[in-house]
């Protein structure tokens, strides 16, 4: 089982990101579970959501405490939102940031990759919503699911012009990161 | 037409009775009379949602019932909401059976206010009838927000420091009218033909309609059981209970008062106002206050009749059929 924690701020589409990833997995025939940290947070407050991916039914319903991966939608959360908390040895962090991966890795002490996701989203969608670009990059890095599965999941949410723009964003973001660079984490988890 | 030829004809045309005789209401119960008149006029194709109260208690002591129409009593404060559900069901089933909600003033002015407002706001096709006897009679005459100013109840007793209820009767008609429903009216058991006419109008309205029926309670008001209609008539003739029709929030018609009576004519028949006739400056002051309230009603609703009218407080009291005159 792979466990993922997504950090963001209320209004950044954190839950949508978690649901999209799990939907992509379920549509590919995997088992998956996605849920937010249940809170009364308002727009802008730090929030988190969780995703579990597994080859067999997922029984547990507790929060993800020891994620294999952390996705950070807002770079300002790197300071003190506990993004590293519980990260498994060998775990990786993907951040929406314009800073270099090297700089972030050094700062966090964990192997971290950055993607200018908000910038990419602004270019393609006209809005700086980082979630879709981050998911595309995540799938490209881990190969846990084909990038096409994300496109299919997006088709359930969007139509026409908006869908086309999202598809272009997914392809662009997936092409930005080294394909399969994080596959070893998936393999080690035996998933 | 002679009297002898009239009655057999009537026998061949029995009026529909929704509330049958043999129920356990007190002698002279205004609410029983009102409920009978309302259901007669509404006809058999109705479903009733009834709030907890005297009407429910005296009409349905298990395993008996006085109702000849489908009738459900749920709770005290939800007659309007249950009616809304029934109406939604009628809509879902494509039926046009009219839903009626019955409640007293406690179940309407006070505890049922939320549900009533919701039902009106959502526009359910329901006729809500409030039988207003101006206190919690079912529990033994406690004040409600419908109790008139200065009236005695068991929770607004007069004493050295008090002259009965300290507050005014809530202007429910205005609150209901503020929902801008198609039709809202007041009526009185003293004017059965006017009451029937208003029920029929309400039955013809699509959407929420509301009827506030002044229904004396001989026990709670402390008057002779034989005087129910007379007391109710005086409430109208003094201006204390104006008969008004409102459409979409505006006054559409009123029953003019041919000769306004002084409020003391009404008050002196009832034990609940007896303390106002004591030789005491506070008592005189409250009597003046009540007269002022009646005068205010007459002024704002323009109740003063200019000339005799067949539909004013005296004309409407007279039934003419085939040259015979029944008063």
């Amino acid at each position: 089982m792979i466990e993922i924690r997504i950090h963001g701020r209320g209004g950044q589409g954190n839950v949508v990101a978690a649901y999209l990833l799990a939907t992509a997995a379920i549509d590919e025939g995997h088992h998956a579970q996605a849920f937010p940290t249940f809170g009364a947070e308002r727009r802008g407050a730090p929030v988190a959501a969780f995703v579990r991916l597994a080859p067999k039914p997922i029984l547990r319903r507790c929060e993800v405490r020891e994620p294999h991966f952390v996705i950070v939608q807002d770079p300002t959360l790197l300071k003190n939102a506990g993004v590293k908390a519980g990260l498994r040895p060998g775990g990786r962090i993907l951040v929406n940031s314009t800073r270099s991966a090297g700089e972030l890795t050094e700062r966090l002490g964990v192997e971290t990759l950055s993607l200018p996701a908000a910038q990419l989203a602004r270019e393609h969608l006209g809005r700086p919503v980082p979630n879709t670009a981050l998911l595309a990059a995540f799938l490209a890095l881990t190969t846990v699911l084909p990038v096409e599965s994300l496109l299919k999941a997006l088709q359930e949410r969007f139509r026409g012009e908006v869908l086309a723009r999202n598809e272009a964003l997914v392809r662009a973001a997936a092409g930005t990161v080294p394909q399969g660079a994080w596959k070893e984490v998936i393999d080690a988890a035996g998933a | 037409m002679t009297e002898s030829s009239h009655h057999p004809l009537r026998d061949h045309q029995p009026r529909f009775q929704g509330l049958d005789s043999g129920h356990r209401a007190c002698q002279g119960c205004g609410e029983a009379l009102a409920a009978r008149l309302v259901t007669e006029a509404a006809g058999p194709d109705v479903i009733v949602s009834n709030a907890t109260g005297c009407l429910e208690v005296f009409s349905t002591p298990w395993p008996e019932t006085a109702w000849r129409i489908p009738w459900l009593h749920s709770l005290f404060e939800n007659a309007a909401s249950v009616a809304a559900g029934m109406e939604a069901a009628m809509r879902a089933q494509g039926r046009d059976t009219k839903v009626l909600a019955f409640a007293g003033d406690g179940g309407t002015f006070d505890i049922g206010m939320r549900g009533l407002s919701g039902m009106l706001e959502r526009g359910h096709d329901v006729l809500y009838v409030c039988f207003d006897n101006e206190a919690y009679m079912n529990t033994g005459v406690q004040r409600s927000s419908s109790t008139p100013h200065a009236a005695m109840t068991t929770t607004s007793p007069p004493g050295r420091e008090r002259m009965g209820k300290r507050h005014l009767k809530k202007d429910l008609l205005a609150i209901v009218a503020a929902h801008h429903i198609p039709y809202a009216a007041t009526a009185s058991v003293a004017y059965p033909s006017d009451l029937r006419k208003k029920v029929r109008r309400a039955m013809g309205v699509e959407g929420p309609s509301f009827l506030l029926v002044h229904s004396p309670c001989p026990l709670g008001w402390g008057h002779d059981s034989a005087l129910t209609v007379q007391v109710a008539r005086l409430a109208v003739q003094t201006g204390l209970f104006p008969l008004v029709e409102m459409e979409r929030g505006s006054v559409a018609s009123v029953m003019p008062i041919r000769r306004p009576c002084p409020v003391t004519d009404y008050l002196k028949l009832q034990r609940r106002f007896r303390h106002l006739f004591a030789d005491h400056p506070r008592a005189r002051e409250e009597l003046e206050h009540l007269q002022a309230l009646a005068d205010h009603n007459i002024e704002v609703y323009r109740l003063a009749g200019e000339e005799p009218d067949p539909l004013d407080t005296e004309g409407a009291d007279t039934v003419r059929r085939g040259g015979m005159r029944y008063a």
Partner: protein, 391 residues
Amino acid sequence: MPQALEGSQAIARAVALCRPGVVAAYPITPQTHIVENISKLVADGELHCELVSVESEFSAASVVLGAAAAGSRAYTASASQGILLMSEVLYNIAGLRVPLVLTCANRAVSAPLSIWNDHQDSMAVRDAGWIQLYCADNQEAVDTTIQAYRISERLELPVMVCVDGFTLTHTLEPIELPTQAQVDGYLPPYRFSRALDPMRPLSMGELVSPAYFTEVRHTHHVALRGALPEIEAADADWAEVCGRHSGGLVEVVREGEGGGIGILSIGSVTGTFADAAEQYTELPAARLIRLRCFRPFPDEALRAACAGLSDLVVVERALSPGAGGIVGTEVRAALREMDEPPRVHDVAVGLGGRDVPLELYPRLIEVARGEQETRFSILDLEPDKLPEEVR
């Protein structure tokens, strides 16, 4: 092929498959997504029903009562304060023996204000005369909703389908939605024997004197006891249709070692314990029992499920302050009739949304192995947060 659905969305679809005539609800976290999804189905023309957006939960319950009594299948959902505001109507619905289904998106009850999951709300109305079924996951919430309508309408008893707020309602997971034909074949069109009808007028909700009240209450009690086989049959028959069981009355989720320890839980926390039992291989395997049906209380099925145990730990998600556990007390009473009843340890966990992690499992085993029987304790209490005198 399973679909990726949020719990609330799946429940809304299940409700729609049951073809309700009237839906009435008032928004409250964490129930809101259910009603929002139903509203969307109505707006998209996928569900034809009267949707009544009421001004309070009190009216939501009253509207569905009026609708069901007037001959339409009806649905409502609520949680927490909403269930308590409804409570007067809930008793009334059950006493009137009107068939209804309500989803309770289980949540703690204020004060202090908490929007998070526990079972205090549905437990507070356990004596209202409703059937109460607690769901382990969202698939079960779907299947139980459909079963609930059949049970309710056959017995003229209302059914509360309890679904853990957030933990289930806000979790997206794979769900098999039945087809409309499957549901139509299983659930006949709504028919209420005492439906209000001007062609056949009857009075409902009469004043009942002491001469008859006892008999009415007795009849209600007997009807609820009689619901036990009907609940099992509804589950078995639905399994015939779609191949999925929802756990009947009491489900043995996982067999343990013979003569050993049992853990009885209620609601979605069972899955976490089942996962933990697989992780903690060094610990003795406990028999995991899930109480799906809490009202009527399935004494016999419970005794059968507990046969041979030396220790049973009851894990509950609510409490009766000043007394202790609610479920545990009833389990204890039921097991006393066994020849060799297990010791019954009673603990509450996960109050007001406190996460129930895998790490709780070894502590439950520890409780079971304790020298003393644990009458009642809150197992995940963090004493360091408390002043000395209440630790």
